[in-house]
Symmetry: D3
Subunit: 235 residues, 6 copies
């Protein structure tokens, strides 16, 4: 139940019976040959598919996240950490004010992980009614990661693991073979300029693609794990 | 050319030849019988249609804006003004850092207008290269407003003027007739709770709908006016 | 009743019978041949004259506003938008904490308009007692604008419409004739340096002066409109 | 040379020959029987009289400062410390950007003293040209304090030392005698509510008034000390 | 080389030859029977021991971190995320301004991990000279974690893994046996009040203690891993 | 009773009987030949010695303060004022939330004085229970200053008055004689670069050292004055 496919009366009706809602958060950033929207598209889609049979509403994805290291690849966007935590705080305050009591933030981008600190802070604060917030990075949650690792242990930014039929760009051919791996210890300490120089196509390493059958297995695991969270992840 | 339908290399190629980009900004908020995403959907769609023949890239719409007065209608979201201006600042900084020199912010929500203050501030600041930023509220720009006023001078939130085939919600019947008008002087001074009490269905007044033919006239005017801006609105 | 011509006991007495107060907000910025204080002087004066017969207290004008585009004209001052909304928030919090329940912010400067976004946010927030806040830009409110337009439709920064006996500078002769008009679409996209180059005397266009009789008509309309607001503008 | 009695061209002319400017900062807060504007009026007046023969421009006083302890006396206003330092930073940035290189902040309110921390921070930052900033609390600068102490060592908020012909309120009789002293150690730890209870008329102690002759001695010392600062207080 | 055991001339001398420095960051929070300073004491000590033979200076530990979930255990302190990232930004700016080019932030508290987001942002920003910053959570770095796991896979807050001779409190007997495990999925969603109710002694699970010999093995691994980082962890 | 030498249960026990706590705040900054930690070490030590016989808990010293003027002496650290007041606010909020009702902030660094503004603001705010906060700069409190002045009126940064056995650096010989005095009026207006040039060893003037007997007199006065504050300084 996408919020954008609903009017407020429908959301209000639903809220009287069920106090859950999903907020997908992504990023607009280079993903090599794949769409600049990869992290946002996946976070929103996995949320929608997972929530569908439960009737839980899904907000539009927050398309901008924290990706300062990719700032030199045109089309990539990044919010400063102070800005990003303010956005999340405002959105959580809205939802709590309307009566939502179980909020799942479904994250599609590793760089957004620090917002978990804001969520812990927000949960801990006294408020009139108890509100739970889950922060779930769908792509490396245990069961999804396990499914992916059955195919290939190398799982890097811009590689096969993000290459779904729905993150490819029309008319763009994805190379065969693999990109050289940029060790994480290095990647974490590069400036935005160095990052662009080191990774000429934007991939951080590993195979560029796998079969659609393999990708379907990973995807189904991701959807199932989010659905399980929405059903059983609450206190 | 949607940024989400592109990879970074395509945006980089484009940028070498043309330094324009579009950032649509909307809102997720009650629109009476219409979609909670009305302002975001329209801002993004009018941007994409206007930019299409020009090849100018269009970023994903920022779906959350400033709508504190609607905060009690479930599914409506609002960012605080301090947060919102920080988001815009960060996005403008990103784009300027990548070499975009002509940025059009296409706005679909009246409550976002104060961000024009941030844009004036941002433009005025010294930076190594000259960057222009246009802030254009498409729905009440002169030519679009003129086109709408040919049909009906009453143009309120959640009424016919926002009722396009692409903002209606599947399965929801729009009432005939008109909603009573909530005078703007009153609307501007209501708390979020009072707003919800005063406007029981969320419409702030006027006819709920007009024919698709009429709406097409308004829409075409909106698209044309944005396109003209993208082509000729720069210094 | 100027707050600066009163002590706190007088304000406290008044507050027991009447919960209204006026906060004028202006700007310190170039106005061509006119006083750098034009916007502040007018906002305060129109407030004082309007409130006088009603006995409503008038705070001292906030003399600094948002005018980044004039930052290169010596003597012009500007606050960043984040700062400005913080100032207004603090002042509204003070007044609400003391028991004022109807606050009129009388604005004398177009660049301050974005603060209306903060006011909407502030009004919408839950608080123990209902507080109304009006934001009124006196110089282009309907009746005042109508009075001015009877004389001349060209109404630009630093031109005749701001040229009152009380905004002229002793010993400065105002030129006859008119300044060339800097189109608003251009003005909105200039850097502070470009603005200074384009407008050599600071006027943005139109006649420099009209007769004192004409100006009196405009002024009286402005005072009457603010007074009407203070009397009847509340819910 | 009041900035409000000048246009920008006059300030620009002056700036070419002399890079000094004065920013008076005050407070709008209860002063017992005296004007709510006492601290602002005095800071501005002492600045104007001191700067007059030097031709140094004097900005309009910033009328709002930090006075949280007086927040329960109607008509008193207070800015949060985060807001106040932001205002000062913005104003200093403006002046530096226009070419002023010697800025004197003349303070009339004890509660504003923490802004000296911001000024030290601002001075220390690297900037293209050297800018000096003096922070001078005129009422307790050495020579002025010495002049006052010749009359009475008891110098408290709202007492004789602030009682000048130009801070009295028309029609208000000042009591004879003295207010009981609220020890500073206590005063510093009271909530706003307690402060209002403890000091029923707002004076914090000592004689309410002295002769106009005595006050003239104090005032002349204050003006002379500010003038000396403007002439010789720079590096 | 503790900075607090040095004067500035010694640090300046050192800096001419070696541009590395260590900033330990900890937390002041309940650790069950152990010292409230556990995370700070360990972060500082592991830094000092690791840096000793290298002569790299070690700043005093930042004793306060982010621990909102423990806010109801007296003596626990927490900074909001906006505050914490501001502190780190200021400290990094200082060090970069003095010429340090390789900065190791050695972290002793899981709740501080989000600050890695600020560090990525800071690294990515353009600055005149290249500055590297490592963020290393010593207690779960690969080799240290491997050493600990040889003894017991259960590694929870306030349990044996934090129980070193130098984190015990004089006169406090540590219980034998184990605390019941509070599953992480639950712990992440508790309010501060619930946390205090659920964990009556503050331990989140597992054995309370192991032999000093075992702890020495873990400690030596931690020190060695930090030292290796300081020697070889740079680009 | 150092908080770091306690576990939370001990602090909780204590809190049931006594609602006092001490927060020492210092600075990490050049002190000429003395330790970079001088202000932090002294603030913490004077707090611990004063609180000892009373059993009042003493938090770890906040080692970083505001010292922008010393930013060019390696090893000196400074927080921006906005950051510093945020830290203090967060810490006070924590303590108040746990039930502490009398908090003594014992300060060891002149540059931190502006935080008194935040404390006044914090005290003035309404909160469910009354919380007192004292801000005490131990080194220039009346009795301590009087004790020091018996020996020498010249009391400058980095001179004899900060030269205790516990602030000296092992192996560093302190010069005999005196440093030239940098007048405060100058010191207050220097940039960080100028400060480093003007004060080549970091001392701002006066004798470098006195006998241990003299220093003991000063120290004992300082400890006694803090203890008296903790016992009798409350309302």
């Amino acid at each position: 139940m996408r919020v954008f496919d609903s009017n407020w009366m429908q959301i209000a009706d639903r809220l009287e019976r069920d106090d859950r809602i999903v907020l997908p958060v992504g990023s607009t950033e280079q993903h090599g040959y794949l769409s600049l929207g990869t992290d946002a598209l996946l976070a929103e889609r996995v949320s929608v598919e997972a929530a569908e049979p439960l009737g839980v509403p899904v907000l539009p994805v927050l398309p901008f996240g924290m990706a300062p290291y990719f700032a030199r690849y045109p089309g990539s966007m990044t919010l400063r950490i102070g800005t990003y935590v303010a956005v999340l705080r405002d959105l959580l305050d809205c939802l709590a004010g309307q009566g939502f009591r179980r909020i799942a933030v479904i994250n599609g981008h590793g760089g957004n992980a620090p917002v978990a600190g804001l969520i812990r802070e927000w949960i801990s604060e006294p408020r009139p009614e108890r509100v739970q917030v889950l922060f779930h990075s769908w792509y490396n949650a245990p069961k999804t990661a396990e499914a992916a690792s059955r195919f290939d242990e190398d799982q890097y930014h811009g590689s096969w693991l993000e290459n779904f039929p729905w993150t490819r760009v029309a008319g763009v051919e994805i190379p065969e073979g693999s990109a050289p791996v940029l060790p994480r210890s290095q990647a974490n300490n590069l400036t935005a300029d160095e990052m662009r120089e080191r990774s000429t196509d934007g991939s951080l390493g590993g195979a560029y693609r796998r079969s659609d059958e393999d990708m379907r297995v990973v995807w189904d695991a991701g959807v199932a794990e989010v659905r399980e969270l929405l059903e059983e992840g609450w206190l």
